[in-house]
Amino acid sequence: MTPQTFFRRKQRLMLLTLSGLLVSYAVASIALGFQQGALLQVQTGFLWMAQNFLPTAATFKLLPAVLFQLWRAFIIATAAAGVAGLLSLLLAVIGAKNLGQRHVTVSFLIRGFASVLRNIPIIAWALILLFSFKQNELTGFLALWFMNLGFLTRAFLETIEDFDTGKLEALIATGTSRPVAIMQGLLPEIATPTVEWLLYMIENNVRDATLVGLLTGTGIGFLFDLYFKSINYPAAGLVVAVLIVLVISLELLSTHIQRSLT
């Protein structure tokens, strides 16, 4: 192969991939009925927000109610991640292939269970739970919890399977029992990624809590929906504003925590 043919081939491959992507994009856009021009109207959204979402004096009367729901959303988001996290860690320790789980089926079942839980859309959880648990916070909590259980089990399994079991063996060689070796050897080593996953989950839960609330008619999502549909845009803007504050503070907090852990 001469350099010319090499570069020509490379260029041709590049061109083919790009045009393939472009054609698929065009086909998908047409099938969807998406007009590319809409992309040029992005600023209308921001303008619209700036015009309509600015809270007025009247909306500040709603602030206590909004803040209360924000507080509940935070508590539910964190509790769902916390409760699911504990159980996930247990499942992951049982299911991890490198910690002496001799039954391949147990590993496989835990992995499959986690995968199904996490891939059922959260709205499906919310809609199904709505029937049996009715319109209340518990429904939202459980929807988040099921999804978190699947997601975190999977994440912890991967974290644990990256762990070098020689370290565990070194502790077992001192005459330690396996549970103690796992507590003293495994947990300190996986603490940092575990905390990172939990923080990510909490942050994500706050956003998802809004969505679940929208569907199940509870919490901060319901409040937004109520104000938005009754064209009380300044109040809806207030909800968005406090959500932004919460999510960004969580993001800052989690950067701070991650920095102290390294």
Binding site: T174, G175, T176, S177, P179, A181, Q184, P188
Partner: protein
């Protein structure tokens, strides 16, 4: 005293990793196990504290056959056997002190072990061992910040925390620079001389083995091909072992 009789181990039915190996190691001596990679050195060492099971033969430490013990009794017996590794196997996220204290986890109840409840005496002793290893400035440093030689000394301190009768060393200096290697071997020599431990060490450097060991065992293809004092090990034999 450690007495190994007719120890065999097979991973695959036709190719044995250890074939009827006999071995004796006395209190206060260093026994070096040498041989090419894949000769069965690690398999032998890991059978000595039964990290590897399903073998045949006898492994007697002070007339107790470790192979006959129940799971509980084996756990107890392992407290008498310290072990250090080529890649140290420390918990990198924890401090030197915590890693050394891990050596006394085996002597605790499960509950106390789970919550890492150490007595003041144990902490004092751990600090003393850290001091003896020349690491007193690093007691509260996380192990991930240490050099290889320092990590291996932490490993030794952790093993000593068990008050072992025997010390198993699996290629302890294979990842170390020459100066740290000398230091670690010197420490092991002292453990045999001053504390009267049985030291069994896997090595691939014959010169280090002849310099520090009292007794050399050579393995090849799972069989013992040499057993004697360093002075008896001739150049021709070394060539045969590594052939």
């Amino acid at each position: 005293m450690l007495t190994v009789t007719a120890l065999s181990k097979r991973y695959t039915p036709d190719k044995p990793s250890l074939e009827a190996v006999d071995l004796q190691a006395d209190v206060g001596t260093i026994t070096a196990v040498i041989g090419p990679s894949g000769a069965g050195k690690t398999t032998l060492l890991r059978s000595l504290n039964q990290l590897l099971k399903d073998d045949e033969g006898q492994v007697c430490l002070d007339d107790v056959d470790l192979r006959q013990l129940s799971k509980r009794d084996l756990q107890k017996a392992r407290r008498n056997i310290g072990m250090i590794f080529q890649n140290y196997n420390l918990i990198d996220a924890l401090t030197v002190l915590e890693n050394v204290l891990h050596g006394c986890l085996g002597a605790k109840s499960t509950l106390a072990g789970m919550f890492a409840h150490y007595t003041a005496e144990e902490k004092q002793e751990a600090l003393k061992l850290i001091d003896e290893m020349g690491l007193s400035d690093f007691a509260y440093t996380a192990c991930k910040h240490l050099s290889g030689g320092q990590k291996q000394r932490v490993g030794i301190a952790r093993a000593l925390m068990q008050h072992p009768k025997m010390m198993l060393c699996d290629e302890p200096i294979a990842s170390l620079d020459p100066k740290s290697a000398q230091m670690v071997m010197t420490i092991l020599r002292r453990l045999a001389d001053d504390k009267g431990l049985i030291v069994v060490v896997n090595l691939h450097q014959v010169d280090i083995a002849t310099e520090f060991a009292d007794h050399i065992v050579a393995l090849n293809h799972g069989r013992k091909v040499f057993d004697g004092v360093p002075a008896d090990l001739q150049a021709a034999q070394i060539q045969a072992i590594y052939a």
